[in-house]
Structure formats: C-alpha cells, structure tokens
Symmetry: D2
Subunit: 397 residues, 4 copies
C-alpha cells in the first residue's frame, strides 16, 4: 500500500453539494445567506480530510478515513469569545471545558477529529498558538471527537500535527463543505453516511437581527430511530445502512453481524456514535446565556429521534462573537441581550441544529472503508418520496 | 361569594377520561397496564383540586383554579429512593434539589402546585412528615410548581395545609386522573387547556422487564409551536386557544390583548408557562444513572415543539423504587443496572414524556377562569383529522 | 405560657456587641468601615428575632428561639443583581436557585430562617413583592435555612408572614446586629452559641477599590474541630459547649446524652448544623465570576476546621450590586472586571467568610432554650489566652 | 547539547526522602503504613522523570524538567472504578471528565503531566490500552496537568509516548517517590520547589476501617500565602523562593522581575500554578458520594492558604476501589457506605490533602532549570523553628 495521503483542502469549490432543503425537506425559520455557521461574521471553518487505501483493516496501515475540522470563532484575531458548553451524554471528549466553564470564555479554535486523535490535535493547537498568538504563555485547547473506527483505522493514529495546521491555516469564511470531510470524514449518522453539516438562522430586526449558526459532526444514532420533519423515515427506507462488500466479514468481532451489501434487509448498526455541536452567534450573550443555547441543542436532536445513547458523546459548545476585549487587565464593557427576548435565539438554535444534521446526511456520499464496510448515503429520492407520503415535502415551483 | 372549596378527591372513578392513543395518536413503545406512572409498583398519586367561583379577578377572593398533586415514591413506606434532577430551564422552583443532588436520594413525596403556593405546601409536607415518619428530625421537601395565574387568583394564596394533607393521604395506586386536576387544575399547555398527564413504558424481559412511568404538570409552550406525532398540529388547528368570554377585557395588563371567544383568529398566549416532569422507574439505577433519565426528558419535549422558553420552569426529577434500605447506619447492598444496557430506559423515558404531555391535553376540558378567560380543550376531532391528513393516525379496527 | 413574641427590631443600637478583632484575633486584609456586608453600598439587612418562653419542649407552644433575617441587595430598588450560588453540602434548602443558575440574576431579597419555616417565608416574600414590586407577575424567592431545633420548638412553626414583612421593612444599611438575632437566633456554631455574623474587606484602588461583604448564618460544626487563626481552640477550651440545666434530660431521644451544665466534660454535639453564606460585592462581576466567589467560601471555612459534614446544609450565594438595568427588553451595557485581576476578590471573600463566622460566635451570648438546653457563648477571655499561648494574638497598644 | 534523557525509573529505593511529619509538623488523623495513596490496596503509582540540560531556554532544546506520573486504580486489572471529579478552579485540563461525570466511572489510569503534553499522554494511554485491555474499542483517558514552563522548556514538547508507557508499566504499590519526580518534576508549590506529594488516613473499625489516600501534583500558590499547621510560615521564611542564578535575566518577559539568588528579598512568583489532587479510597462509595470527597479537597487547601487563583487549574478526582464488576451486561451488586457515616471519610480526605501538599514541598529539593531560574526547597530547619515559635511543632522523644 502506498502511504501518501489524499489531502483535500476543502476550503475550495465543493459547495455544489446538495442540501436538505434542496430536496424539499421542510424546516422552520429563516436561514442566512450561506445557511452555514459562517453566516456568523468572522467565523471560519477549515477541514483536513484524510482518505487513503482500501480493503482489510491493518492497524497502522489503514484504510484511512478520518480528518480534522477547525472552527475559528474570530478569523484573524486572537481575543477570546464568551462561551459555554453542555454535555447531553458524556461518552466523549471535549478538552478545554473546565476553563470554558470557569471563565465563560473560549480562547482559541474549536477542533473536531476522531476519538483517538484528540491528543495529537490538542498539542498541535498549542504548537500553532505558540506561533500565532501574541505573548502566548499556555493554552487549554478545545478539541472534540467522535468515533470513526468502523470505517477508519482509528488505532493507526493517522492524524498528524501538520493536518491540524492545515485545517487551521485554511479556515475560511464562505460556504462550508459538508458530509465526509474534515473530522467528519469517516462518520456514520443515524445509520447512513454522515459527517459535517451546518445551518444557520437569522432573526428579524425586531428580534435583534442576529444570526445563529450551527456546525455538527454527526456520528450518532440508528437508522431505526431517524425522523426527518417528524416523519419516521429511517424505518421506511428499505435495506441496510451499513453492509459489507464481498464475502469476507469484518475482522472485528463486534462488526461481524453486518449484512452483505446485496442483502435487502439487515440489522441496524448499534448506538456507538456521537455528535458534536458547535453553536455560534453574533448576539451579545453572556456565558450564562450561552449555556442556555447549548442546553437547547437536545430539543433539536429530539426531533430527529435521538435518545442520546449511553455510547454517544453528545457534547455541545456555544459561543458569541459579539463582545470584544474580554482579556487583559482593563475592565470590559460588554453588551447583554435581555433574557426576556432570548426565546428567538433558542428557537434558532434548535432549528439550525436539526437542519445541520440533515444537511450532513444529505451531503455525504456512500463510502467504503476498512474491511470493505460500506456506509450508504441517505437516498435522496427515497427520502423525498417518503416525505411526500406524509404530506411533509415542500414542492418548489 | 360563598367561600367553600369544591374538593375533588380524585383517587376515585374518573378514569373514563379519553386518552391520546384512544384518538389514534401514534406513539412508540409499549405502555404498562395503566399507561401511568402508577405502573411502577408502589408509586401513588393524589390530587387535591380547588375550583371555586367565577368572574372578575379579585385578589384573595378568586376565582380559584388551582390545587396540589402528590407523587409518593413508596406508598406506605418512608425509606428513601435513589433520585436525581435536571433543570432544562430554571424559571421555576423545585425545592429540595440541593439534597437530591448531594445525596442522590429523595426522602419523601414530590409535590406539585402553583408558583405562589410552593411555600405553604413545603411546610405542610414537613408537618405531615412529623406525624407520619418515624424518628423524624428534619426534612427538605421536594415541591415544584407551574404558574396558573392566568385562570387562577394566584396571589390569593388559596392552597392551604389541609389541601396538602388530603393529596398525601389520598395518594393511591391505580389509574391517575389527568387534565385539570390537582396541581394541574389551572394550567395551560401548548396553548390549550393542560394540567396533569401521565404515561408509562414497559420493557421486554430481554431489557430487564422494567417499567418507566412519567407524570407531568404541563403548563408550557404555545399553540403555534405544538407538534404531535411530528405533525405541526398547533398551527393547523383553527381559532385561538385562549379567549375572553364576553366583552370585558381581563383586568391584567399583560392579558388585555386576548381575543374574544367569538373571534376566529387571535394571538397566541406567550411562553410564560412551565412543565414539571416526574420520572419513576423500578429499574435499579444509581443516582448518576437517574440523572441521565432526567436529562432525556428534553428529547421528548423537543418532539412536541418545546423551545424551553426563558419564561418556563422546566424542572425534572427521576427516581427509582428498586433499591431499599438506603438510610440508616448499615452499609446498603444495592443493584446497579449496567450502563451498557440503559438505552431502552432512555427511550422509554422519552416516549412516556411525549405521551404524558399529549395525555394531559387530551384529558383536559375547556375551562373558564378569572376575568372570564377561557382556555379551550384540544379539539379531539380536529386533531384526528389533521393527523389523518399527514398519514399519522392509527386506525383501529 | 403567655404567648406573645418579643420582637427585637434589630436595626437599632445594638452595635456595642464585641467583635472578633476586638479580642485580638488576627485576620488578614482590610475591613470596611462597618466590617459588615453593609459596607457594600445599597445592601440592607433586617432581622426579626423571636424569643419566647422557657422550659420543656411542647410542640407548638415553645420555647421559641428563632427568627428571620433579610438581606436586600439594593435597598429601595427592585431591579435584579447578577448572582450565582454554590452548594458545598446540600443538606439544606435555598429556594430560588434554579433561576439564579439559569439567569445569573437574583431578583429580590435573600432570606434566612429555620429549616421548617422556609415555606412560610417564601410565600410571604411573594406577598410582600406583590405589594412592593412594580408590574409584578410571579416570583421565585430565595430563602435559605439552618436547623435550630435543638433550642427552638421548630415543629411549632412559629415564624409567621408578619415576621417576614418586619425583617424586610426594617432592612437597613449601617451596622448589623450579630449573634443570636434574626434567622440566627437559635443557632449553634462550632459547638458554641452562633447565629448571624458579618465582615467585609476593601481592596486598594490598584485592585479596583471594591468592597466584599459577607454575612453568615452559622450553625455548623463541632467544638472539637474549631480552629481560629489556625489554632485548635475548640479542643483547648474546657468544658462542654452544650449542656442541660438541671436534672431533667431533654425530651428528644437524640439529645439525651447531653451533659449537665455542672459537668466539666461532655460529648460534643454532632454535626447536624449548617451554614448559609451570603457574599456581596460592588465589583462588576458577571454571574460566571460570582460563582467563583461562591466557590471560594469553602477555602475560608476550611481554615476554621469545617469538614462540610453530611448533615450540614452549606449553601452560598454571591451577588454584585454593580450592574444595573439587567431586566426589561433593552440590551444592557454591563461592566466586567477582568479575570486576570479577580484574585484579590477571591482573597477578600475567603478572609471575610472566616471573620464573619468568628464574629457570629463572639457576638452570641449564652442561650437557654427548649428542654433547658443551654448553649454556651464562646468564652472571650479563654479564647484570648489560648491564642496567646500560640503566639497568635494581636496586642493593641 | 547532547539530547539524551535521564530517565529515572522511580519505583525504586527513593523512600529515604524526609517527610513532613519527620520534621514535627502536626497533622490530625492516623496515616496508613506508607502514608501514601498506595495504602489503598491495589493502587499503583509510576513516574517517568525527565531532567536534561541546563542554561538558557532554547525552545525545543531544553532545559528539560518535566515528566509523567501514572496512578493506576487497580494494578493488574482493567475493570472500572466508581469515580467523580470536581473543579475548584478550571484553569487547567483534566481530560475524560465528561465520561466520569456521566458514568460515575473511571475506566483506566489517571495520568499527570505538564500543560502542553496532555495530548501526547492521552493518545499514548490509548495506544497502551489497545495493547493491554481485552476487547478494547475506544477510550477516553483521564490526563491532568500543571504548568512547569518556568523551569522546563514546555514548548519543546519533550514528553513522548515511551515516557507514558514507562510510567504505566512501572506503576507499583509500595512507597511513592515524592517531590520533583514524574509529572511533578518541574513544579513550584507555594513559592518553593514542589511536585508530587502523597498521604493517607486510616479509619478505625468503628468507622469502617477504610483507607483514604491522596496524591497531589502541587504547583499552585504563593510563598506569601503559605500556612502550615495554621502558621503563616510563608511570610516568615526569609528570602525569595525563586531567583536567577547569575546575572542574566530570564529570556521570558514575565519572569524578568525575578530577583537574583544573592538577594535577600524579592517579589513572590505570581499565581500561575495549579494543583491536581487524586483521592483514592477502599470505602464502598457511589459516584455521588465520591463527588462529595472531591468537593472536600478545597477544605484542606484552604488551611494551607490557597485562594484557588484564577490562574490555577485546581482539578480533583476521587475514586473507590471497593466495588468490582461495574462493566459488562450483567447487573452489578454494589455496596454503598451510608451517608450518615461518611463524615470520617470527609475528614480523612481533608487531612490527607493537607499533608500531601506539605509532603510534596518537604521532599522536593532545590532545582535550577531553564534560564538558570532556581526554585528553592522549603527550608526544613527554618520551618521547624517557625513552628516552634508558634507552639505548633511536635517534639519527638
């Protein structure tokens, strides 16, 4: 096996990907121009995607289906943002949360990768900050993960510091590549191919005119539980979401029961995934208010059928780009949006979370990974047909 | 005005009330025999319902539309149960939570009443425990609330200690009266008349054969946001949920914009409600596991359209009746259900929460309260017709 | 028994009480002019003290040794303050904390009373707010407690709404009566007579010139564990802290082992107390920062020998009077003190907590209560002699 | 500079180090035979100590003063222990806490290293578990840190996976090397040389006969604030704790104000340290009870003068080795020690925390690191002399 990575520098021209609302899936609320977390001014996203090799899993030699995603709250600036986090189910890692909880601030990027590469990403962020942050002394980087060990040679530790630097250095505003990119490369979402998804909502001027953007790395759930627009589409879509191409069963004990891809039925994959959700807003919210946003994420996931399985790391972080000058030795003057008018921001968070997950699934294409395990893309036409049967599709002129 | 209360001792024969699944609303999972929190063996429920007077609000003189509900974890016993709690939105009161958090135990009943009667109920529970608990020294009772001040003369403080004693002394197993009873008497749920609702799920023997029961006091949400079975029924049901009978607008500034009941349209009531959710199970869960159940409640509320408004007190408590002997000076031997098999309990909690809310709405009848404000019952036939249009009704033979 | 209360309206001239530093106890830091929580401008304190009867405990008939203390963050104003709370050990009640946690705000007074009177005080605060707050709709009052059932007929429920109104209406700036007053009337602190104590620290202009004030209701701890100024004074002071006058043992099973007051030795009372700590500051701290102040309180209690017993309700609330205009529908402009300069506020909180506890003990006089149980005042001369032996007394010229 | 590490495999014969009670420092309670965390049966400790080079700081080239410490809850076994954690001040990292909080369990070792090596240690633990854990699928390792960047070339990232493996593979029962070893190699504690310290307490059979062991990596605090045995020894000890040998000031801006080592006075180092505390016990405590132990750690630190500075990562984890069989698919039968008898375990935690910190300081020897910065050992004789002046020394026959 030739061991050179295919590095997709995904800040480029990939935004021809279809998105959920293109298929007529109904969502509530008004998205921003990009319908992405980057609708929040200043937020940048960068992906490093690692796809290499095929065939049987050989630890340390692939196949590789993984990557790193960087979400930078203030592109080109290093001052902190107010932030908060919430764990719906803590079978996951998000480093740096003790300081978010203590200070109410996020002092660098939020990174997402696979479960076994959190460490390398974390220390690489520090190395990157040593270079890029003025008067740097120490850092407690925020790195989250989901598990891509079904498709990816996760114990091969294929993410390297340079992949982290690339994700950070290519982080950009503009359209965000979705699906099997960056940290989401090898992920499985509600039984279909998943990965990175994003969405946004804008509020009317009466409600402050703010934007809420959400980015998810979606790797949780089962096909059986999937609801879209309130419709139980998971159980209506025919055939298995995961299967094995060819006759050789996976080398891993827990995956041997996967059906072959010619089967018309087959057991659902179990609940061993996770979802990381990043909520960004330009509304001037204090940390105590951003925690409330993070705590609304489950209300969106509930609609999709999530049970927040015990095997799932469902960790959410929310930040606001609104208030500057939070660091240093001078008192800061900050703006606080009134609690009495915060409901539209709650609603926007829930709506954008729901849509970001469906966007991740709609964008991701079928992928075959380690041990010839294939994870199927959500079938667009079948989804649309099912929604039509339930009177829940939007027909465009 | 004659000031004698109509005390409905509701442990009686009221279970002819219709329930959500009687209307063909689809739910997932298998309910217990009563489809109620009392399917968990030993759990008792008692209501004291206070309905008196009509017409204009005169503080201290009514009209009265309030009450007290008691949920007793171990009827006839006084030893604690393992417990945990979670606040989705803390604009509400649940006393006694510091000790639940600290000890992982619940040492008495859980009471629910109106916002301004939490105090009287709390101290009355102590007085009741002085009489009923052996070697009693002090207590930190758990009392929760939602706000019934739209229909009820809440500042008249009409709940008295004897109403608390009655709810506790009549707490019983068996069918649980739902709708406008007990603490739920004056409540408004998703824009329609709400109150108390309950539901349960039983698990197969493969999953331990346990029961999860949920009881809600539902007073949150807006008509516009209501989804049932994934269908946006709230915005499809015609006419306002709240209105004023006759020509005299309410005496309260914030309610003057309510439409008259002959109007065919009208503004939705705002988000000034709350929901208390009590989750009971006989599964042998530790406190750390019960907190996980409490944290799954939002996944059920999300399906119904909840945004957990800033004006809402969304407070949840979960307890397990499984382990005895938790108090005293001897080490206790307790059973812990494995985390690896806890998902079915999560799913049951979500399912029963969703159904309990709909049950509260289906059971509650139209009520007219203070200032001739009328809150409409959820229209059963219209609901059924809407669900049919969305291919989401269950037709029984 | 004549059943009329002795109401001590304690906002008057009682400040001739001795205080800890008058005895030469060394403390660090610089107190404010009053060395009291009222050094924080705008903070008012009011006490209602209930002392009536003597002799055997007859439930409902006394003797009465209890009361109510009100701490009002902004005397004469009704807008909220930023706030946070922390539970070191949750065997206690502090109502209203779900909303403090959620909103980061405290919207009324903080009340302290006995364990079994929290309810009556809570509802009375609502009744008082109905009268005194503009456009009042609902409230979630903050009421905390400690247990005075050793000296007081706690199950007699002697605190009434009028006692609450009195504490609130007489709340005043100026010197704060300490010891056996208000909610602290019947309390026992580190094995000696305790109750209310207060202290403050002022910071140099380099550190912002702020004031931190602390008020405690001290009812925790054992004589054996008491340290003052690092010296194990508890075990050095001779004789028991609690005893029974005369030959009749207490009617309560758990107190029958108390020594008679003529004994020279005797078992220490157990750890069934609690401590409520209120931290006030005029430093412009956000809620996330005030939580940090609340979490520093244990560092002060640790010095005194606290173990935060399982039987103790050690609940702390911190608020800042600095930022106004936190309520309503307009965005608020608030000032945030930088985290990088917050350490002096941490230190001040710890120092003032330590001194407030010692002040409560120094001020309180020996009291005899129900069942002729006597709780001894901390002996001033003996304390001073012990500190001298340990080279830890301050000698004034 | 030759770049080969001096690896001190510290499980050897280093226990001739002096300890605090050898100097006559008074402590309360009864230590176990080793007065170490390893008095809790089954707990193993391993250190990898990295000391290399001297002179000016050259990033990536040293000098190196750092390492890794492993605390293994069950030597030779892989089943989880019940656990809980608490953050007194979150300016630090402890990975894996989301799962501890969620599950109440700790599934591998607790590692401690420097701030910028948490990542490499974390991923290396996974690699080690891949080799050593049966049916391994994924892991969320617990790795904590404090900042050694004053003495150590922290941005040189000198900790490598093999150092982690060594610490894990040499983890052993028996005496625990203290001071400048393992993760504590380059640490500064209360202004003097610090690092690893440990202590234990055993309870009488009346209290269950349990052991509580504590291990700290001590890097917090200032000389000015240090109290030992209640005596303000920090301000009484003459001369600076940190200084620069020779005439060349440190290359780092924030350290340029350090005095030269020939000075007799000098500014204290600031509060940029941290302390990690690991509490182990064989008492059968549930997760909810272990959290209580973790929350008692501040009561011990308070006695030493800690203010839990904003610059400090004060993170604590507590675990119990008592209950086995917590993983898998069968219900576990576990023992719970009664809350009513938990106070002695609280007291033991506080006492052992206090002593472990002093032990770390007593064991550590003066060290010179990067930029010729010298951190002085706590002077034993001077300490003893000061304690004698305050009548707080224990004189042995």
């Amino acid at each position: 096996m030739r061991f050179a990575f295919l590095l997709l520098f995904t800040a480029g021209a990939l935004y021809a990907q279809p998105r959920a609302r293109d298929l007529g899936v109904p969502f509530e609320g008004t998205p921003g121009p990009l319908n992405a977390i980057t609708d929040v001014a200043g937020v940048g996203v960068g992906h490093t995607t690692l796809v290499l090799g095929s065939g049987a899993l050989v630890v340390g030699k692939g196949p590789v289906r993984t990557g790193v995603t960087a979400v930078v709250p203030r592109l080109g600036a290093t001052d902190p943002v107010f932030a908060a986090w919430y764990s719906l189910n803590g079978n996951g890692e998000m480093t740096g949360t003790a300081w978010i909880e203590e200070s109410g601030q996020l002092e660098g990027p939020v990174m997402i990768t696979n479960t076994h590469s959190v460490g390398v990403v974390r220390d690489a962020v520090i190395a990157w900050m040593v270079e890029n942050y003025p008067e740097f002394r120490w850092a407690l980087p925020v790195v989250a993960e989901t598990y891509d060990g079904v498709l990816n040679d996760i114990n091969g530790f294929h993410v390297k510091p340079e992949h982290v630097f690339t994700a950070l250095n290519t982080a950009a505003t503009g359209a965000v590549p979705e699906g099997a990119v960056g940290g989401g490369t090898g992920m499985i979402c509600n039984g279909f191919k998943g990965g990175i998804g994003t969405s946004s909502r804008t509020l009317s001027s009466e409600h402050g005119g703010f934007t809420v953007g959400v980015l998810v790395q979606c790797n949780y759930g089962t096909k059986a539980g999937l609801h879209i627009a309130g419709v139980p589409v998971g159980r209506e879509i025919k055939g298995p979401g995961l299967c094995v191409e060819g006759d050789v069963p996976p080398s891993r004990e827990n995956l041997r029961s996967l059906p072959t891809c010619t089967a018309t039925n087959g057991a659902d994959k179990g609940e061993d995934g996770s979802i990381i959700v990043i909520v960004a807003t330009d509304a001037p919210l204090l940390p105590v208010q951003l925690k409330r946003l993070a705590q609304r994420v489950p209300l969106g996931l509930g609609k999709l059928g999530s049970i927040a399985s015990t095997f799932s790391g469902d960790l959410f972080v929310a930040f606001s780009t609104a208030n500057n000058g939070l660091i240093g030795r001078e008192p800061a003057t900050v703006t606080m949006w009134p609690n009495d008018r915060i409901d539209p921001l709650f609603r926007a968070t829930i709506q954008a979370t729901e849509e970001a997950v469906v966007n991740a699934m709609v964008a991701a294409e079928t992928m075959t990974g380690a041990d010839n395990i294939r994870v199927r893309a959500l079938p667009h036409d079948e989804l649309r047909a099912i929604l039509t049967r339930y009177n829940r599709v939007i027909t465009q002129e």
